[in-house]
Symmetry: C2
Subunit: 352 residues, 2 copies
Amino acid sequence: MSTETVAVQLGHRSYDIQIGKGAVRNLDTGQRRTLIVSNTTVAPLYLDHALAQCAGAESIVLPDGEQYKTLHTAQSVLDHLADNGYHRDSVLVALGGGVIGDITGFAAALYHRGIDFIQVPTTLLAMVDSSVGGKTGVNHAAGKNLIGAFHQPIAVHADLDTLASLADREYRAGLAEVVKYGLLGNAEFLGWLENNAAALAARDADALAHTVAQCCRDKAAIVAADEREAGQRALLNLGHTFGHAIEAHQGYGAWLHGEAVAAGMMLAARMSARLGLLDNADLQRIAKLYEALGLPADPPPIPPARFAELMGRDKKVLAGQLRLVLLRKLGDAFITSDFDPEALDATLRDAA
Amino acid sequence: MSTETVAVQLGHRSYDIQIGKGAVRNLDTGQRRTLIVSNTTVAPLYLDHALAQCAGAESIVLPDGEQYKTLHTAQSVLDHLADNGYHRDSVLVALGGGVIGDITGFAAALYHRGIDFIQVPTTLLAMVDSSVGGKTGVNHAAGKNLIGAFHQPIAVHADLDTLASLADREYRAGLAEVVKYGLLGNAEFLGWLENNAAALAARDADALAHTVAQCCRDKAAIVAADEREAGQRALLNLGHTFGHAIEAHQGYGAWLHGEAVAAGMMLAARMSARLGLLDNADLQRIAKLYEALGLPADPPPIPPARFAELMGRDKKVLAGQLRLVLLRKLGDAFITSDFDPEALDATLRDAA
């Protein structure tokens, strides 16, 4: 299988995403001093392989889990860089899932006010979503990703081989972000997913190659049009305001991000139906796809008032107004703060 | 005395610097939720005044001093924002000197991946240098400003009235950055400074107004041409690689930044003379100006090997090569990594 390249067009910050089996073999940091950041789960599997690609590279291995996506962990990476005299022409490599990518990119954004970094995503979620687009950051007790920076990688190497080792639950969580691209703006891809759900659930290599490349193309187009999320990029947050509230309520790491997003997208769909935008058949199509992919359709029980309060802390609140991504139809999302609050309350009450 | 406005031209990130007596009266954050960040020295003098300008604003008062310019202090600002539910359309106001401006700008850069902030510099150094240009950040035990971000303010209000309350030592430290603009690229201004040193040392209002406006114009032009320091902006680091080593060796806060920069610029001048670029008369001109302004011409005693090691940690090291800003002549600086290392060693030996 060949490697496919998707270009992210961002002027002088443009970069390529390489997707394919063995894509990590193209990782190359030249003669530059390199620090590879990984975690205790991924390092035993792929760190030696990555170190072999980058002559003289060092590594730092962080604990695994969303609960470690903190300023404290980011500081441990910054301390390592500073205490060992890394310079502004050094390179960081993020070898792992979304948490490793977010922390590593954040450290790269801050060290010397910004050094280069490369994403080597090893989870489906990181490949199709978090490794592309330059959003980096850490969580705060008061909210997810509240502290961060926009900092684009100089390259992304998505090696499909790494998906074979992914735990079932993590793999399925990644499929939630895959479904997101279909729901928010690509009805054709949504149809393809419905037709190929069994192959995808079974990690069929061809289905995966098509899926990762399609999601990266969709994300690259959205990011290129709106790098700093002044407008349409916020569509990528479909399900996320609901989802972040779920993650915050359960405690980071209890629900995987993708699981929370899956339940969150379903809540967005139900609220859209309540507003007369979707019909029951639409909701059933989503539910059927979720079932085929093993995604949770329902949030954990959360008191509606608490759920609403946690949503109010989300970054997407503007001028005190909650902004939500809702569905006009399947494959067509929109951003609004102009909705009947009772529709939200009723959706949360029904789910509790 | 009227307020003078200097525009910093950075496309959609452009902003105005307002300079004049009472300029803080133009501070206005509209209806937006506002947090004013100040320190224990400045707050008793000007915080009430600033709060009165921004209806409903809250404030946070940090300990005063370069030794508090840490990730830990920045986190206390971020915690305040997150724990109190500030949103991405909130505004931070930095009311204080360079340390407050750097910490506040850094917190603004990170919160929600970047919220607006306004600089209200109350020291000469902050007015002529650190409040303009978008460099934000904190120190690390291993080096000054090692952790930071580029984040432009949306406005700068330099109220000359606040300079009256500045301690003598801090005021003089600010004059070091003033002299820097003359030395690095403005021979005419350097001559003006020599002719008006007595008035400036006495904080004459007209001399100060001219000085602050001239420095801001020079800095605005340099920043507009090279926002991210890809090239010529590094000229603003004249004296800083030497100076940062002095600050690191003495312990942050022992030598004021401006004092270290003054001694550092003199070392750069002496090294330039050693390389045959300046002559003795040039060095004497600088020494005479320093004397009139009360600036230290000599660094504290530091073993040359230690001095060189600390300089090697500076952010301006590229590909393992130390880059220095040297003087081709007075009023004409250049950046180079191609110098005789013995010239640096001898300069440090002579100063020890």
